[in-house]
Amino acid sequence: MAEGIRDKVAIVGMGCTHFGERWEVGAEELMVEAFNECIADAGLARDQIDAAWFSNCMEEIGVGKSAMPVGQTLRLPQIPISRVENYCASGSEAFRGAVYGVASGACDIALAIGVEKLKDTGYGGLPGLDIGTMPPLWWANLSAPGSFAQLASAYRQKFQIGKDELKRAMGMISARSHLNGTKNPKAHLRKAVDLETILKSPMIAEPLGLFDCCGVSDGAACAIVTTPEIAKSLGKSPLVTVKAMQLALSDGSEAGHNSWDGSYFKTTRVASQRAYDEAGITNPREEVGMVEVHDCFSITELVTLEDLQLSPEGGVVKDIMDGFYDADGKIPSQIDGGLKCFGHPIGASGLRMIYEVYLQLLERADERQLDDPRIGVTHNLGGFPHQNVCSITVLGRGD
């Protein structure tokens, strides 16, 4: 009977580049930048890595297919390196591959590295994605903002919330992320923005304005994982261990069956419950110390906090306005600035979230340090509300 992978794997090193419009570097340099920090943190030599997992979503405008760019760039000595891809959840998938690699006994020391170079397209905003031959023939002519924006009309309809009230709560989310970003030297955006500016900003996709949408950044992040025994033998203390890794993908019912009302993420609910079970968490609102959610859009964060069972259904607006998720609140959300301000280089984001939790658990988060968070949850989502992949990772200390 599968028992899950709780406490089987520990993180011994992590690295993360400065996220932003890194005009002067390519994807290769970004990988090296993240890797150098990571390998130094781990205290290992490059040739001690047994296997690697690589996350890169938009390879067609980046490094091209396969995981070869990692081997070639980092000169890893012909070890197994696998490319994983699941839209914006790719970074978590690379981490999961490395974790399973170690937990299965296939290897001792595994690397997970994610990179994205989005700024070589010549235009602003998220580049168009390959969707195959069939979708262009019938999918709505949609974009990410327009798809996620629809959560708002559905959520408002369900809970009878006024337009302005919801817009304000969304604005508060972004304002808080901006404030958190100012304390993060690696963040893409490091300026506070006030609520009024956010509310008045140009409309991107009704009702999401400019500041309700995360931007487009280049960056890389990576992690080295191993067994707790090996981690201890390397002198690591305290240990940061993986408590749960869960993933859930749409089965088609959101897009094709009238049972979904459009106001929440089915997958997030399923994956987070499985993750809490795997990690032994019975009361998330009480037990979770910090959360990094996939705030591609403020409205995503808003409904996700309910989907993660951190706020009661219909209660998140109140929690937000009460500051529950602020840096000095009960469950700080996006303490590192989130996708919104740290940035969203797609293949790296899932790992960047884990990076912040890792730093926080080891009390290395400098100005952003929270008071003994104990359990950190990351939520990494790819796709659209009506068709998506959701990854939940729970990290804690290995005691």
Binding site: T133, P136, M203, G256, H257, H386
Partner: protein, 487 residues
């Protein structure tokens, strides 16, 4: 008895205000002010002759059994494809069986009446029992041209057959004369037109009466028998002078719809005919002429059934659904007469995989989904495994048509980021009350009026045009439906 058994019409919703056009062009051609009365119908960016023909056909077929059709003919001089059967696309959009015969009729302003004649003769000769004839035109004109003011976009459709006839076909006569009042060759997009007076005096005045006289002889009728005279021309004086020449009372001339629609090319005789059928009484004779390198003249006599044209919108219903458009720049942009800066995002131009299109043609062109025979849940698209989370049965689905069903908006957005020629792009999750849903592009909406719960009808529109590879892609979109009396 053989004749017309049903009719339908489609005039695009947008109506370009002629004053706005004249004012914009006044610096170049002040004389256009003389034409600046009323409005002309204008296609939305996602409409063309095929989409309009589909709309007119749907209207015409409203409520009838589509399985009765033996043939479908489409007439247009603005067919989207020179070599890919356009009437075939229309037939697929209507989800007709493949055992029918289709034909594109083109290259002349009387192609519409010629196609109608061909349908009638097919029934008369026993080759078919029921034929749908659709005519559609999306006009192409240069900026600041007189034609730009006079032409309009539109379509009409009739079924002809031998059961439940609403207007009996009494006979016809055609003359063929290579009178080139204007021409358009296959390389150039615009008409080249000769002088108005010559067209009137040497063309209409001399050729139409020949056809009409021949018709009177063939049917044993005379000018006094005619109750409705359908003759269209951009030249306002022509219908009057031709009526005089053939002896028909001016009172019997049908309104050419110049003030509210404009002249819809080869579709216009059928547009005017449908308009006539909508207010004709029983026992009235309708003379229809089509003029273009000769003339077709057809005679119909209405039956009692014409007074009971239930459920169709027709031309008058279409005309009533109007939205004034004062933005001439928009008209020019939609018609590719002005190049706006589309930005790099618009460069994305995926190939249209013909193998994929073919495998899925019922879904893509006919909006056919599936219904699970186990749990009875309709779903789009049809799939191997039922989408109902409580069912999940395998290999249980049958075809299920969504096109004629009304949907409701469950969620939506207006998107300024996505590339579209008519921003912001509107789309959302539409849901069919009996089951089924999908994320659909919206069209024909008023910005600011879209909201959750809105009733939508599905319409067949241009999904995109790939000018590099020369193909137009079609799919269905959701458009606001009229309040509950519709559908």
């Amino acid at each position: 008895m053989i004749g017309i058994t049903s009719c339908g019409g489609y005039i695009p919703r947008l109506r370009l205000n002629r004053k706005a056009v004249a004012a914009a062009n006044a610096w170049f051609l002040p004389a256009l002010a003389g034409q600046a009365k009323g409005e002309r119908a204008m296609c939305n960016w996602d409409e063309d002759s095929i989409t309009m023909a589909v709309e007119a056909a749907r209207d015409c077929l409203n409520g009838s059994d589509r399985g009765e059709l033996d043939a479908l003919y489409m007439a247009s001089t603005t067919m989207p494809f020179a070599d890919r059967q356009n009437s075939g696309v229309v037939a697929t959009a209507l989800n007709l069986a493949d055992g029918i015969s289709t034909m594109d009729v083109t290259s002349s302003q009387r192609a519409g009446t010629t196609a109608l004649l061909a349908g009638l003769n097919a029934v008369k000769g026993g080759a078919a029992n029921k034929v749908l004839v659709a005519a559609a035109e999306k006009r192409k004109t240069r900026a600041a041209s007189v034609q730009e003011m006079q032409f309009g976009d539109g379509a009409a459709a009739v079924t002809v057959g031998n059961k439940k006839v609403i207007a009996e076909f009494k006979g016809s006569h055609s003359v063929t004369v290579d009178f080139v009042d204007h021409y358009r060759d296959s390389e150039h997009g615009f008409d080249y037109t000769w002088e108005e007076r010559w067209i009137r005096d040497e063309g209409y005045q001399k050729i139409v009466p020949k056809a009409v006289k021949g018709l009177f002889e063939a049917t044993g009728t005379g000018p006094d028998d005619i109750d409705h005279f359908v003759i269209s021309s951009v030249y306002g004086a022509v219908p009057r002078s031709v009526a005089k020449a053939v002896g028909i009372d001016q009172e019997k001339l049908r309104d050419t719809l110049a003030a509210v629609c404009g002249e819809t090319g080869t579709a216009h005789p059928l547009v005017m005919l449908v308009h006539a059928l909508q207010d004709a009484k029983a026992g009235e004779k309708i003379l229809v002429v089509g003029f273009g390198q000769g003339c077709d003249a057809l005679l119909f006599e209405t039956t009692k059934a014409v007074e009971k044209l239930n459920g169709i919108s027709g031309v008058s219903g279409s005309l009533a659904r109007r939205k004034e458009e004062n933005n001439y720049m928009k008209f020019l942009t939609f018609n590719g007469l002005i190049e706006v800066e589309k930005g790099i995002r618009a460069e994305s131009n995926p190939q249209t995989a013909l193998t994929t299109l073919y495998r899925n043609r019922k879904m893509l062109e006919g909006l056919v989904g599936g219904i699970c025979t186990e749990c009875k849940t309709p779903q789009f698209p049809k799939a191997d495994i039922c989408v109902n989370p409580d069912c999940g049965a395998t290999d249980t689905q049958e075809d299920y048509e969504f096109a004629e069903r009304i949907a409701k908006v469950n969620s939506w957005s207006a998107d300024w980021l996505v590339y579209t020629i008519d921003p912001p792009g509107h789309y959302g999750m539409v849901e069919f009350p009996d089951g089924g849903r999908f994320m659909a592009d919206f069209t024909d909406y008023d910005v600011g009026d879209v909201d959750v719960g809105m009733r939508m009808r599905m319409v067949f529109r241009v999904k995109g045009h790939d000018s590099t590879r020369g193909i137009t892609r079609y799919f269905w979109k959701a458009a606001p439906a009229a309040p509950a009396t519709e559908g």
